[in-house]
């Protein structure tokens, strides 16, 4: 298995103060991992740290691929911007802009392919703000795919969308993972969805991280104990 991301005893936090500490994690090609835990436990801190938005306070993090896609929460994007689906997706190639020209033809074609991949070709010229929550989320997945990623990181991809939209997003992620071997790491507070979708889980609680098999760690009887004590009945090392 090709390792894409490796964390050894890593701590992340703000202002030099660790919020999550001692994280050991290895993400290999084809992995499907969920980061879950109570609100305020440090999920977002861990996720932002993995993205490189927070400094590593201690330990070592090695990103072994540059091909990393990121899908933010769609609520973070202001609807006042009159951007089309196409414009949003093309932003995924803006790190490759050569400043004096527009977007390269190859990137335009890639954007069309990514839009098609998420099933929104008919809406490519539609204003992003006019789409439903689920459609917007798929647009952001398409933008994440512009990096031709080996590792895709998603922040609450199914939050606030209806069940049908949620199912389509999950179906898309499973397809990317199984057919293209893309490693996926997602943060979510929707435990049922995570249990049914991912294989490995990182349970973040009070700044510490537990690893485990999704079906094992997120069993209902385990969850009660996890919320109460931060410890499962039995923990499997990832």
């Amino acid at each position: 298995m090709t390792t894409l991301l490796q964390l050894s005893g890593v701590s992340f936090g703000y202002g030099g103060k660790p919020i999550v500490a001692g994280v050991d994690l290895s993400v290999d090609a084809g992995d499907f991992i969920g980061i879950v835990g109570p609100n305020g436990a440090g999920k977002t801190t861990l996720f932002r740290g993995i993205l490189g938005l927070l400094p590593v306070l201690s330990g070592h993090m090695r990103r072994l691929t540059e091909a990393v896609g990121y899908v933010p929460q769609r609520e973070n994007l202001d609807a006042i911007y009159p951007v089309t689906v196409e414009e949003v997706v093309e932003m995924g190639a803006y790190s490759r802009l050569k400043s004096l020209g527009g977007i390269a033809r190859a990137d335009r074609e890639l954007a069309s392919a990514c839009i098609e991949r998420v099933g929104l070709t008919d809406m490519r010229r539609a204003p992003f703000s006019s789409l439903s929550g689920g459609q917007r989320q798929r647009v952001l997945v398409a933008r994440g795919l512009m990096a031709s990623p080996k590792l895709l990181l998603l922040d609450e991809p199914t939050s606030g969308v209806d069940r049908t939209a949620q199912a389509r997003i999950i179906e898309l992620l499973i397809d990317l993972n199984q057919r293209e071997g893309m490693a996926i790491l997602l943060v979510s507070h929707q435990l049922a969805m995570v249990r049914e979708t991912v294989r490995k889980v990182l349970w973040v609680s009070e700044g510490h991280v537990l690893h485990g098999d999704a079906n094992e760690l997120l069993r209902p009887e385990n969850l009660d104990r996890l919320y109460a004590t931060g410890e499962p009945k039995s923990t499997a090392k990832a």
Partner: protein, 293 residues
């Protein structure tokens, strides 16, 4: 007035060309201010620029005595502000950038955006009046500056304005995608390795530059009018970022052209006429939004 149109255009050609330049460029920057929800900057920063210009008059006698101003005497520099234009633009820039950096610094510490910007506007306005009392040019000059004596723009002012706004337009044209991206989704831009700090600094620089030279040349009213109103009018008609930027600029130029016509035909002050026309441009968009509901 019964002066033929051709003569009026010839007489005020530099003023009108300067206003057209501002009509083209200011709304582009204003569009980004609007999208970043910092439109109040468009009102507050020209006030900082005005305070800078007036402070320049306060400091002028000292400056000429200790540093010099291209051989100008205090009397010449005071009686002919055109002669010392670069000096005044420089002071406008110092105050504008100072205000912009101050507001950005406060924005990182607190999310009370509207109150903070309103307080900055009040302080800059008060400083303008106080400086005018301290300067030898007095309050009447400040009144003139605030109302924007656009028609007095000469060749040198136009050249300075056109030169600097061309730089702003070039920078905007080359980097508008990145400027929009770091405004729209800063976190994603950081993750992708886009030089976010560099582009945010570029936006600060070109905004400050346009406001400084625009305020010194045309007055604060026309500058903040063109920064704020055309982008607002264009938003209702825009379905993409590209069309939004083009329409903002087009509404700015249209406001200048129709404002000039209104000013000449109805004998109105030019700055106020341009901003009033820009205000009228809001009406079709409001009607469209009502129809959409």
């Amino acid at each position: 007035m019964d002066i033929p149109w051709a003569d009026r255009l010839a007489l005020f050609q530099f003023a009108l060309l300067a206003a057209l330049c501002a009509g083209l460029v200011c709304p582009l920057l204003g569009a980004l201010l609007y999208l970043r929800r910092t439109s109040f900057y468009g009102i507050t920063l020209p006030q900082f620029a005005t305070a800078g210009v007036v402070f320049g008059f306060v400091a002028l006698p000292w400056w000429i005595e200790h540093i010099g101003l291209g051989g100008l005497s205090v009397e010449v520099a005071l009686s002919d502000s055109h002669a010392a234009m670069n000096y005044h633009v420089a002071w406008a820039a110092v105050f504008t950038f100072g205000g912009l950096l101050w507001l950005d610094f406060l924005a990182r510490r607190s999310r009370q955006d509207v109150g903070r910007v309103a307080a900055a506007f009040a302080i800059a306005s008060a400083a303008t009046i106080l400086f005018s009392r301290l300067s030898v040019v007095g309050a009447s000059f400040v009144e003139e500056l605030l109302h924007g004596e656009v028609l007095g723009v000469g060749l040198h002012e136009f050249e300075t304005l056109a030169g600097l706004l061309s730089l702003v337009l070039l920078a905007f044209g080359f980097f508008h995608k990145q400027l929009v991206f770091v405004s729209y989704d800063r976190e994603m831009a950081l993750v992708l390795g886009v030089r976010v700090f560099a582009f945010e600094t570029l936006l600060t620089l070109i905004t400050g530059l346009a406001i400084s030279v625009g305020t010194m040349t045309l007055g604060p009213l026309i500058v903040f009018g063109l920064l704020v109103v055309p982008p607002l009018a264009a938003r209702a008609w825009s379905r993409s970022m590209k069309s939004y930027l083009i329409l903002s600029s087009a509404f700015g130029v249209l406001a200048v052209v129709l404002g000039v016509v209104a000013s000449f035909e109805l004998d109105l002050p030019l700055s106020a006429a341009i901003v009033a026309v820009a205000g009228l441009e809001l009406l079709p968009g409001l009607a469209l939004n009502r129809l959409r509901r």
